[in-house]
Symmetry: C2
Subunit: 333 residues, 2 copies
Amino acid sequence: MVSIGDVAKAAQVSASTVSYVLSGKRPISKETADRVLRAIRDLNYQPNAGARALAGGRTNVLALVVPLRADQNVPVVMEFAAAVVTRARLADYDVLLLTQAEGVAGVRRVAASALADAFIVMDLQADDPRLPILRALDQPAVLIGLPERPVGLSAVDLHFSAAAALAVDHLADLGHRSLALVGAPAAVYERRTGYAQRTLAGFEKAAARRDVAAVATACEPSFDGLRRAVADVLDRQPGTTGWLVHNESVLPSVVAVLQEFGREVPADASVVAVCPDDMADTHAVAFTNIGLPAGDVGEIAVEMVLRHLEGATAVETRLLSPVLTERESTRRI
Amino acid sequence: MVSIGDVAKAAQVSASTVSYVLSGKRPISKETADRVLRAIRDLNYQPNAGARALAGGRTNVLALVVPLRADQNVPVVMEFAAAVVTRARLADYDVLLLTQAEGVAGVRRVAASALADAFIVMDLQADDPRLPILRALDQPAVLIGLPERPVGLSAVDLHFSAAAALAVDHLADLGHRSLALVGAPAAVYERRTGYAQRTLAGFEKAAARRDVAAVATACEPSFDGLRRAVADVLDRQPGTTGWLVHNESVLPSVVAVLQEFGREVPADASVVAVCPDDMADTHAVAFTNIGLPAGDVGEIAVEMVLRHLEGATAVETRLLSPVLTERESTRRI
DNA sequence: AAGGTTCATCGATGCGCTTCGACGCAACGC
DNA sequence: GCGTTGCGTCGAAGCGCATCGATGAACCTT
């Protein structure tokens, strides 16, 4: 283990000078700095993270709390995580992975033991028990996903109600007069998870505004679940021709299931999906979709955290504007 | 921030006594220990992670290196990660998330800065540049997935060649005489990733042993990719009736694509999938599958790491026996 | 009763780093 | 000529903890 003292010796300076070269917090002459930097390279020196955290009061670690529930769409979660890690590394932060399962205690533990400088938390539900704790923390926290009342915390997410409205408008513009929302699994609604609620609200409001018929249903993440959801929709509103699917797991089955019910896509049924763009066009019928910009959201979350770590106190809520890409699954009726 | 000194004061003992109560490395009388523990609870004390790492030489953090490639099947990766985090927490370890993208430098950095006590690395390819570094590390490392020569490192994985053989036997037993392996994307083979190679080898060897015709093809993770793969197979071996699909991404499309080519599953084509069990039965046709026990593998990896951290020096390679579950996608010909 | 044991606890030290105050030195002003 | 200023560097302190040697008390032993 090579320490700052070894570097100092090799460069014939004091340890504090090495520290200042590294942090830039005091001016060091170019010659000295060069000597130090060369010694660092020669010895392959890396500051000890623990010592640094202890002395500096900063760990350069971000804690990321991810949901690892079965009913959560995993690829999307992973895309967030990947974006967070990648962006965090650019700012020289590492990422500690925490799971929902640890819950309140996990956040408390990590915060109190100063394992991380800040938190990024995904998948907040309404009245999430972690919200008050996150607010009370010394460390800043940023939410991915918007709970009902994010008071006091910064948050970033896709503007889901606008997304739903955009889908409704698109379908209504194509002449569809009876729409259905095939949404998240029932458990997600029961937890009153932000994105599901907001999509539903946006859907219903836009449908009313456009004066089109609309029904919504939950959908379990399996072929059979989708079958039941579609059956439910057609039972309640047989004339449905426009479908908004906000459930990545069943996307691959949508065309087949609608076919079972005698509907060809897009001849008899138009489908708009809410999903990551790269998920939209790898199917038999490429889906007209509203992008779920997981990468952008993850990056922005990190950037918000960094701003807070640099001292910004103002909380911000950023809702990204939805973008609809027309592909093969929607058609004028 | 409440420190060990505050606890000591509250319990009217010295700081070192508090430390010994926590670590159990020296006997402390029950009365004193109780007083200390109550103070800890009252003050909600959590040892500072940085200080602990500095003084104790242990971080209680595991570094997990995950592949976040587009051609990697993400849900499976996530399942590994979840299992690792969950199991690690049971042993009071946290998990630092690193990505493949950081590569050699990332491993070096984390090791040299003593950010983690050990490494778990997924998705090693043959001659992975990280292998020599992992071997040279002070910290132990465990591989998830088997590179060609894991020399000196512990590793755990599904026994993929046995899995392929099991699938071949199952199909051959059902009377199929012409088999096809629809495997990973071409890039995965080009990287000579362990699991892909081993599945292929096991497939070919078992087919020869059973004296059945066999072709193998790579498959890109999209509907069109699968279409091309199937076309390729039927071009080279038109009589193919038994299919082994080792590519989670295209699983949802298999039935539809085979249908396009005039094959009903399971009437005209039997399909065995290699995928997590819960992925097998959420499709239109429930797949006969060989389970990909991501959860088990992740747990075992952590347990191996823990053993090394406790001083075990013997490296071990564990290959889990494949288990085939018969469902609806295979039938006697 | 003096010495030996064992047990519970304490104080001091050091882990590797950041940061603060201080110092030496050259350039400058008057 | 001397005081002043500012730059570049150093030494010391301290972050919170684990660990080691030491100490004191209680209990035996002979």
